[in-house]
Every structure is written in structure tokens, then in C-alpha cells.
Amino acid sequence: MFIINCPYCGEREQSEFKAGGEAHIVRPKQPTELSDDEWAEYLFMRKNIKGIQFERWNHAHGCRKWFNMVRDTSNDEIKAVYKMGEKPPVE
């Protein structure tokens, strides 16, 4: 079970958090302009990387804030956490 460093609260047990899938997928501003394929790209397509992955997490049983995490999915090492709207750290 991870120890996650919530950017608002500090280190907490994973059981307080909820994972929210891939990060940095922006909801299209004008969905009606999109073709079926373009909309499907936003709706369904996720990378599911083995290795460094950018993810959304929510401190559901804490401050309830959403934030982003950089995690190596091959060994579960959390490389960084940062607030929504902040730029992802560059490797």
C-alpha cells in the first residue's frame, strides 16, 4: 500500500485516496464540433503505460482535492505529486 504525499495534507495511506485514471486529458471545449472518432479518442483512449505514467488522484477521505501524480507503474514508485493546473515536472 502506497504512502501518498497529498500536496495539501502531506503523507497519508493509500486507503485515503481514490485513483482517477490518466492525467492531462482535457475535456474538449466544443464537443459538438468533433467527429465520432475524435470524441472517442477523448472518451475511451488511455495509454496504460508500463513505466512512467501521469495520473489523477483524489484525496477522497481527506481534503477531497484532486491532484496529479507521476508514478512508475512497473515498481509503483511515486516520482512526484503536483496540484491540478500546475505543469508536470520534466524528467
Binding site: P31, W39, G85
Partner: protein, 1001 residues
């Protein structure tokens, strides 16, 4: 009368405390400190059970948790009986009763033993190959397999014992209290670190504690005495907590570990009452030091599984620690020096050793010289080729090994014995290290896998790290701790050490025989009866991956996870396939290291504590009025209120009629409630609901449907505009938390620019819902100051009011189709408001109704329940609710998905009403719907989602989803049931009051 093999000495034994116990119905005696295994051996009992596949007689092989054979059923009573208990781990107690498992009718005469004779017909993969086809026969095979296999019996009654979970946080966790674990504990604790030392056995000190040979000395004392002093010292350390009988089951990421502390299993039964049996420790440690030791390897030769064949180190432990001789005519078989330690120990105690068979040629070793001084015959460069003795070993055959170790040469020598100790060297117990994600490396010198890359803040020390001899352990342990704990020095830096072991080893994974392999039974996995031949067969049949060979041969898949034989399996694969051990890798070790009982896993979360349950503030009233409850999420909701002798159907019929004919009252407090405020609140609702909200006047209510981004219905409920920038949203009972989460997600991540604040107020407000033609009269009496006229207070509107001094919000909304009011009050006033309504409704036969009647009433009106009539594949269009989808709004969650090529298909499953041809026939919810039963295979068009007998319509009604159902009005469909086919007509889902006249009745 059985022989007494009890010796005069035995470190762990209290000879003043005699304990009687039963094994397979016979009474035996042992002493306090004995395990079941040591006590049975002292009584000369070697035959413990039968093997899984061939039902071969099996005995005790080890003295620890790695035991594959000596697993027994403990039967205290039908609620506490426990299968698969290792006789080598269970300590005897007054009243212990154990029996062999996996044998029928008895361990001495076992019918399944016929499998042994049939074994040429039972090769690797036999079960896969034979029993998987034809599939329809599996049930029949399974009966026989299970009956003759049967790994023990489960208890038939609930577990009466108490289990607990406990969290522990520490600086350093040390796993294993052998010599290196003890040293690490002292160093860590003395450096100010909060340290926890756990040991699976009842006592500390590992195998060193009973080492009293002059060949192993520390600071001029024998190593056992030295360690004893160290143990006495660490027991006084304040920073150190020591837990014995505590076995680490799992090592997860981020140094999170689970351990089972066994508190009562060793006590006499009459001393266990009201005590916690097992504690599951959830340990989070900054640093973990693994000192789990090593497991002696058996040797792989023909018939290497007979009772009386033990690991050499186990024989030593039984003699030194428990004071038990495993046999009177002992032979040892080894490829390294450690069997000689056993020999010296037995000689000291006057136990007879017939011979030692050593794979190695001449070796320069002090231990061997010592043994030779005692005139014990050592066959150097020899191997065992076969053994005999059905229920106990009585003879071995030995032959000389060829120079390359691949063949046997010369003539055969037969030796008789009643006990054979084998030592194939040592395997580091790296199970926990690999569970944590650690990567191993292969050390060619002595053919072992040792820790290489640590995935978290941890360290392996002692023999689990490949340091097998006393000098290696004593030199390397302090050194690596200095580095790991970042300290200057330890008190162990300058120990004077005498260690006499010669490290040479002649490793041969599969020993040669004069027979061809096909004629031998050389067991690699004892518990699952996998032989060397099976592994070679798997390779011949094309299996290459170690994980595949494991599954095909079932090697390592027993309750012991192949702790003894996994390395040999790898070795044989490596030699046969010509692959390097290091490149093959090992199979994955999975938690738990040793099995855990279900009781330990669930702890106190049983019965009413299984899950949290939520009660409404009116709950007690429902209990007093004999409501039956149903679980809705975590809520306990009143389901129906049976009167004397009423069954559920009768109660629901009565409640439903009363609600339509006069008045009903429902506790709707469980509905999710979200308070929404902010200047952008209306815009926010526009984006999350399918319909438009900007024009909703203050004081008005509106039903809303919420979709997922994929266009599928997610939740629904009524939202009321309390003020210009203030709404209260209701959600479904089960969806409340998820809706809140979803709304917060969009606000925080997609639309942070919106000025909107959300507060969950589900628990703060309770809701009393009064419906029926007399509802207005009742609420008028409860709130006399409020104008309830239809002009002032029409359907879908809201008013603030006071009941005495209690503020409340009254909404005129309806989920039943009746004229209806919902009174929302602060939760702690809810019960009094409910009682006031009951009092005011007395003359109108106000009838409390539960969720079942609520479901029936709404189904009469064709109102959906999200999650019952919908799953995650229904769009509003599928539900025939096109009216609620705004055509004008530019965007809302899910809008774009409503005209994807898939969602506009005409033949999607759509919600329809279903009327049975026979109006008294009530359909089963979940039943399949078809058009043509003669077609093969029958095409499934959909299923029934809601079904009731309507007392108001006096007929059966149902809702269902049917492919293309919208265009099937009036068409006949069939519900095929087990005993009959039921005809239904597709109908409008609104069955009652299509004109909504009752809302204003």
C-alpha cells in the same frame, strides 16, 4: 507399546510438565515445549499422512514452517476444526486432537494408494489432459477427485474465536530472531531506533541457540551460550518490542507488511476463553531488516519421500532442541558439511549413526575428521540410488558417483536404517524479499539465489542473504548494518570467531540412478507429488517458461508453496533445457508466506461489524413498528411493515392501496442531498444535467437526469432552487457519494473558473414524505400556518415553513404519482415530525410504507430507478425520456455521446412496459425476454428489470429492456422460464394515470 525415543536433554522441553494428546484416536504423551511433530517422533510415530496424488505414506520431513508432508486436521469441535495445520509448527496442549488428512479410510490402509500403483497412468498434466474433456463430464470426475484428494475438512459452524487487527508503526522491523536478527535488533535499538523484532517460532535464537559444539565459538564460548546472553540483554532494551509466534505473511510495497501473531493456539483449551486468538498486525516500517534464515534442501533421488526421511537439520533440531531421537539406526546423506554438524550432535547424545553418504570426494574438513574419530563409516563420492520400506524407510541402496556426477558406477551396496537425514545444502528464504518486489541474483559457487536489488528501504542479513557459515554471519551482519543504519560502529565489530565449516558442496540437482528415469519416483514437490520425471515430461511436451512448468506439473503449488523443492525444479529445468539458472529466474512467491485463517483476515469485521451501516434518524420508530429492513448501499431502509401474520406480498399490497386511496408516509431521508451555492450555480446545473436550469424560478423544483460523459444515465433526482444562487440537489440513495465526487471532480479539474460551492448535507436533513389524496389535509394540520392551496403551492414548488420552532423545507414533489409533500427538517427533529404526521393522519388511515411499496408505486407510473431499470448502457433515449434532453443547450456532460453512431442505433435495448397475458402472472425480475423460442440458439432480446402485482390496477405489471422495444408496442414476446413460457405484450411503461390527474387530486 511404542518405543520411547526421548533423550535426557532438550533445550525447549519442560520435562516437569507432561501433556497428553490424541493422534488418529490414540493417546500419546509429550512435554511442554513440544510441537506435535516432536512429540509424535518421541513416540516413534513417523507415518503422518498420505500424499495428494499417489496417496503415498508420508512422514515428518522438517522441523519448521516449510513442512510439506506432516499436515494434519485439528479437530477441537465442529466450529474450531482446522485443516492443513503443520505438525511441525503446532505446539501441543492438553486436549489436542489431531488426525491425518488426505487418507481414507485410515492412514495405514488407504484406498487412494491404488493411485500409486497406477502412477504410470498419472503423469504430469494428467488432470488437465484427462478431466477437462468432455466438459460435461467434469462434475462427475470432480466428485471422485475431491473425495480421494480432500485436503482436510472445513469447520461447519461459525468461528467462535476472537480475532483482531492492529496497526504498528516503527523505525525498524526485523523479521526473524536467529543470530543475525538478534544482533540487528540490539544494534538498532541501542542506536535509538524504535524497533520491532518478530519471530515465527515460540522462542528466540534460531538454530544457533542449541549449538553447543566446540567447533563453533564466539569470544571463546560456544555459539549457543553466547547467543543466549545476547538474548537476555536485548529483552531489557526499552526501544525494542519482541513478538514471538508471529509470522510475517506478506511484504507489500512501501514497507507495508502483514504479520499474524498467534496468541492462544499453544494454550490448553480451557485457558483460551475470551482471549484473542490471532492478531493481524499491519506494520508500516521505515526500515525493514529481513533475517528470515534459510531452508535446508532435500536431495532428489528415487523414493526420496518415505516416512523416516528427514532433513538433516531437522534431525539435529529434534535432538538438540526437543530431546528426541528420530531413529535408532540413522544414516545421513549429504553434499556439504552441515550433515556432519548433525552427526556430531547425535554422537554426543549417544544416538547411533550407521553411516554417512557424501556426494563429495575427499574434503578437508574439521567436522569430518571429528566424525571419523568416532568410527562412523563415511561413503565419500557415493549417492543413494533407491530406498525401501513402505510405511517407514528400512533400507537404502548406494552406488559410487562417476567423476562428472552424471552416472553411478561400481556395485550396489545395501544399508539398513530406520531414519535417513538428507542435506542438499541451503536455500536462502528470500520469499518475503521477492514479495516486496526485490530482484534476485544467482550465485554460481553454491547455486543459490540471493537478494540483489532492493525495491524499498530494506536489508537482508544472515543466511537469507547467502551467509551460511557462522564466521560469514558474524562478520557481514555488523558491517552491513553500519552502512544501512548509517552508524559508526557496533559492539560486534571485533568478535573472536571460531567456525569449522568447510564451504565446499557438490551440487547435483537430480542424482543419477542405475534405473532409467521413467522407472523412478524422485519427488521434487512432496505435497503435490511432482517428480523429476514429470518436470522432464513437461519440457519434452514443449513447456519452457518456469511459470508454465510450475502450473503444468503443479510443482510449488501446494500449501507450502514448494519451499523445499522449487530450487531443484529450476535446477532440473536448467540442466534439461540447457538454460542458465540466473536467466531462468524463479517462480513468483506470493503472499501469504504461511497460510492465514479467514478469521485472522477479517478480524473484528464480522456479523454486525462486517460493514458500517447507516440509520436514518427515524430508524428507531421503524424498529418499534416491526419494519423489515433492506440494505441500500450502507443504509438500512424500512422495506415493508408487516402486520400480524402478513407476509411481504400482503403487506406491500396493503401499503400500496392505502397510499393511493388515502395516505401513505415514507422515510426518504436516505436520498443524497447536495447543497449548491455560488453565482455560477445555475450554469453548473446546466452543464451537469441534460435539461435546462437557468429559467427555473426561485421556489420551484425540477427533475434532472445526469449522464456520464459516454451518454449513459448516471443518476437522477429533484433539484430545488432555494434562492437566486442557491440550490439543493437530491440524488439516488446509492449514488450520493459518487455524484458528489463527480461534481467535485468537474469543478476542480474541468471548470475551476465556475463560482460554485458544494456541500454534502445528506446526513444533516431528514425527509418525511406524505402522499395520497389526503396528504394535503395531513400536512396542513402539521403545519397550520402554511398556505397549501394549489394556487399558492402547486406541484413542483417549495416553501420554507416552521413546525413550532423547527425550520423546515416543504417540497411538493412526487415519486408515486400521488399528490405528495416532502418535509425536510434538521435530522434530529425528524422523528418528532414523523410522529406529528402519523398523529395528524390517524383519521385518514395514514400508512407507513417501505421501499418495496415505493418501488411498486413508481413502477405503476413508469418512473425509472437508476441502477434497477438502467445499467451503464442506457441513454435517456433508450429510456424513452427524450423529453428531458435539452436540444437548445450547447453542451452538457454526455451530450456529444448521444449522437455517436452506436448510441443512435434503432436496435438498442429500450425501456418498455410489459403486461402478462394472464394478469395474475407476475414475472421474475432478471428473466430473459425472447421473441422466438423455436430459433436455435434462442435470441435474447432483453430482460425484465422491475415486476410487481399492482393492487391498484389489479394486474401484473413489469418494466423491461428490449432490443428495438420502442417499435414493438402491442407485440407479443415470450419470457421462457424453467417450467413454462410466459407470454407478454409490449406496452407503454406508464400504467397508471397517464394524464397525471392524481398529482392534483
Amino acid at each position: 507399546m511404542t518405543k520411547n525415543l526421548r533423550l535426557k536433554t532438550g533445550k525447549a522441553i519442560d520435562e516437569t510438565y507432561r501433556i497428553s494428546f490424541k493422534f488418529n484416536g490414540s493417546t500419546y504423551y509429550g512435554f511442554k515445549g513440544d510441537t506435535l511433530a516432536s512429540a509424535l517422533l518421541a513416540n516413534d510415530v513417523h507415518l503422518i499422512g498420505r500424499s495428494f496424488k499417489y496417496h503415498r505414506p508420508r512422514g515428518i520431513m522438517t522441523a519448521g514452517s516449510e513442512e510439506p508432508n506432516a499436515i494434519v486436521q485439528l479437530h477441537n469441535d465442529s466450529s474450531r476444526t482446522e485443516p492443513n495445520v503443520r505438525a511441525t509448527e503446532i505446539e501441543i496442549y492438553e486436549g489436542l486432537e489431531a488426525s491425518s488428512q488426505n487418507c481414507w479410510p485410515s492412514v495405514k490402509f488407504d484406498i487412494g494408494g491404488i493411485n500409486n500403483l497406477l502412477s504410470p497412468l498419472l503423469p504430469a498434466g494428467f488432470y488437465y489432459k484427462t478431466f477437462m474433456w468432455p466438459a460435461s463430464f467434469w462434475e462427475k470426475y470432480e466428485y471422485f477427485i475431491r473425495r480421494s484428494a480432500g485436503l482436510g475438512k472445513s469447520p461447519t459452524k461459525p468461528d467462535p474465536d476472537i480475532y483482531e487487527h492492529k496497526y504498528i508503526h516503527c523505525d525498524v522491523l526485523i523479521i526473524g530472531a536467529g543470530i543475525s536478527g538478534i544482533m540487528a535488533a540490539k544494534i538498532a535499538a541501542k542506536n535509538g531506533l524504535k524497533t520491532l523484532l518478530v519471530e515465527e517460532k515460540p522462542n528466540l535464537g534460531g538454530s544457533t541457540i542449541y549449538q553447543n559444539s566446540d567447533h563453533f565459538k564466539i569470544n571463546n564460548q560456544n555459539s549457543g551460550s553466547w547467543l543466549e546472553k545476547e538474548i537476555n540483554e536485548i529483552k531489557k532494551l526499552k526501544n525494542l518490542e519482541i513478538k514471538t509466534r508471529t509470522s510475517v505473511a506478506a511484504y507489500h510495497g512501501y514497507n507495508f507488511l502483514l504479520a499474524r501473531e498467534n496468541l492462544t493456539d499453544h494454550l490448553p483449551i480451557n485457558q483460551r476463553k475470551n482471549k484473542t486468538r490471532h492478531k493481524l498486525l499491519k506494520i508500516r516500517a521505515n526500515k525493514v531488516i529481513t533475517a528470515t534464515g534459510s531452508i535446508e534442501r532435500p536431495m532428489i533421488f528415487d523414493n526420496n519421500d518415505r516416512p523416516g526421511i528427514l532433513l538433516s537439520s531437522a534431525i539435529k533440531r529434534f535432538a538438540d532442541y526437543f530431546g528426541v531421537a528420530c531413529g535408532e539406526k540413522n544414516i545421513l546423506f549429504t553434499n556439504n558439511d552441515s550433515a556432519y554438524e548433525t552427526a556430531i550432535s547425535l554422537v554426543q547424545k549417544g544416538i547411533n549413526i550407521e553411516a554417512i553418504i557424501d556426494n563429495r570426494e575427499e574434503v578437508n574438513s574439521k567436522l569430518i575428521y571429528e566424525v571419523e574419530k568416532n568410527n562412523i563409516k563415511i561413503y565419500k563420492g557415493y549417492t543413494i540410488t533407491d530406498t525401501s520400506g513402505y510405511k517407514r524407510i528400512n533400507k537404502i541402496s548406494i552406488m559410487q558417483l562417476s567423476k562428472d556426477g552424471q552416472k553411478v558406477v561400481g556395485s550396489k551396496i545395501i544399508l539398513s536404517c530406520d531414519c535417513l537425514g538428507v542435506s542438499g545444502g541451503w536455500t536462502p528464504a528470500v520469499h518475503l524479499f521477492t514479495q516486496s518486489g526485490g530482484k534476485l541474483k544467482f550465485r554460481e559457487d553454491d547455486q543459490v539465489f540471493i537478494p540483489n536489488i532492493y525495491p524499498s528501504d530494506q536489508l537482508s542479513i544472515g543466511s537469507c542473504n547467502g551467509d551460511f557459515t557462522l564466521d560469514e554471519i558474524l562478520l557481514n551482519t555488523p558491517k552491513s548494518l553500519i552502512e544501512y543504519l548509517n552508524i559508526k560502529n557496533t559492539e560486534y565489530d571485533n568478535l573472536e570467531i571460531l567456525s569449522s565449516t568447510n564451504k565446499s558442496k557438490r551440487n547435483i540437482w537430480l542424482l543419477p540412478s542405475d534405473k532409467i528415469l521413467g522407472k523412478t519416483k524422485s519427488f521434487v514437490d512432496y505435497q503435490n507429488d511432482a517428480t523429476a520425471k514429470d518436470i522432464k515430461l513437461a519440457l519434452r511436451e514443449g513447456f519452457r517458461s518456469i511459470e508454465h512448468v510450475k502450473r503444468y506439473t503443479t510443482t510449488g503449488m501446494g500449501t507450502d508453496q514448494g519451499k523445499l523443492g522449487n530450487m531443484h525444479a529450476l535446477g532440473i529445468i536448467s540442466e534439461t533445457a540447457g538454460a542458465k539458472m540466473g536467466e531462468l529466474g524463479t517462480t513468483t512467491f506470493r503472499p501469504p508466506y504461511t497460510p492465514l485463517t479467514f478469521g485472522t483476515i477479517v478480524g473484528r469485521n464480522v456479523g454486525e461489524y462486517f460493514d458500517i451501516f447507516r440509520k436514518t434518524p427515524i430508524h428507531d420508530w421503524h424498529v418499534i413498528h416491526k419494519a423489515e429492513f433492506e440494505n441500500v448501499g450502507q443504509w438500512k431502509r424500512a422495506w415493508y411493515y408487516p402486520k400480524e401474520n402478513e407476509n411481504m406480498h400482503e403487506a406491500v399490497q396493503r401499503e400500496s392501496k392505502a397510499a393511493r386511496e388515502s395516505a401513505g408516509i415514507l422515510d426518504a431521508s436516505t436520498l443524497g442531498k447536495i447543497d449548491i451555492q455560488g453565482t455560477d450555480a445555475s450554469e453548473f446545473l446546466n452543464r451537469v444535467y441534460t435539461n435546462a436550469w437557468s429559467k427555473l424560478a426561485v421556489g420551484k423544483c425540477r427533475y434532472g437526469l445526469m449522464l456520464n460523459e459516454d451518454g449513459m444515465v448516471y443518476d437522477d433526482g429533484v433539484t430545488t432552487r432555494l434562492g437566486e444562487n442557491h440550490y439543493i440537489m437530491t440524488t439516488t440513495t446509492g449514488g450520493a457519494a459518487n455524484v458528489m465526487g463527480k461534481l467535485e471532480d468537474y469543478l476542480q479539474t474541468e471548470w475551476p473558473e465556475l463560482d460554485v460551492y458544494l456541500t454534502s448535507v445528506t446526513d444533516h436533513f431528514a425527509t418525511v414524505s406524505v402522499c395520497g389524496p389526503n396528504s394535503k389535509k395531513i400536512v396542513s394540520e402539521v403545519i397550520p400556518d402554511l398556505d397549501f392551496s394549489d394556487e399558492s403551492f402547486p406541484h413542483m414548488s417549495f416553501k420554507n415553513a416552521k413546525i413550532g420552532k423547527i425550520n423546515c423545507r416543504v417540497m411538493r414533489i412526487s415519486f408515486t404519482g400521488e399528490h405528495s409533500y416532502e418535509i425536510n427538517v434538521q435530522a434530529n427533529y425528524a422523528k418528532s415530525v414523523w410522529e406529528k404526521c402519523m398523529e395528524a393522519g390517524k383519521d385518514f388511515n395514514i400508512t407507513p410504507y417501505g421501499t418495496e411499496t415505493m418501488h411498486l408505486l413508481r413502477a405503476e407510473k413508469g418512473f425509472i430507478i437508476v441502477g434497477q431499470d438502467t445499467d451503464a448502457t442506457m441513454t435517456p433515449i433508450d429510456l424513452q425520456m427524450d423529453w428531458i434532453v435539452s436540444k437548445k443547450k450547447y453542451d452538457f456532460i454526455g451530450k456529444r455521446s448521444l449522437y455517436r453512431s452506436d448510441t443512435i442505433r434503432e436496435d438498442r435495448k429500450q425501456l418498455v412496459g410489459l403486461l402478462t397475458e394472464n394478469p395474475n402472472e407476475v414475472l421474475e425480475e432478471g428473466a430473459q425476454i425472447v421473441a422466438d423460442i423455436n430459433k436455435s440458439p434462442i435470441e435474447m432480446l432483453g430482460h425484465v428489470t422491475s415486476s410487481y402485482y399492482s393492487p391498484n390496477l389489479k394486474k401484473s405489471i413489469a418494466l423491461g429492456v428490449v432490443r428495438g422495444g420502442k417499435n414493438m408496442m402491442g407485440q407479443k414476446l415470450i419470457i421462457p422460464m424453467e417450467k413454462k413460457n410466459i407470454s407478454v405484450i409490449v406496452a407503454d411503461p406508464v400504467f397508471l394515470d397517464k394524464e397525471n390527474k392524481r398529482l392534483n387530486a
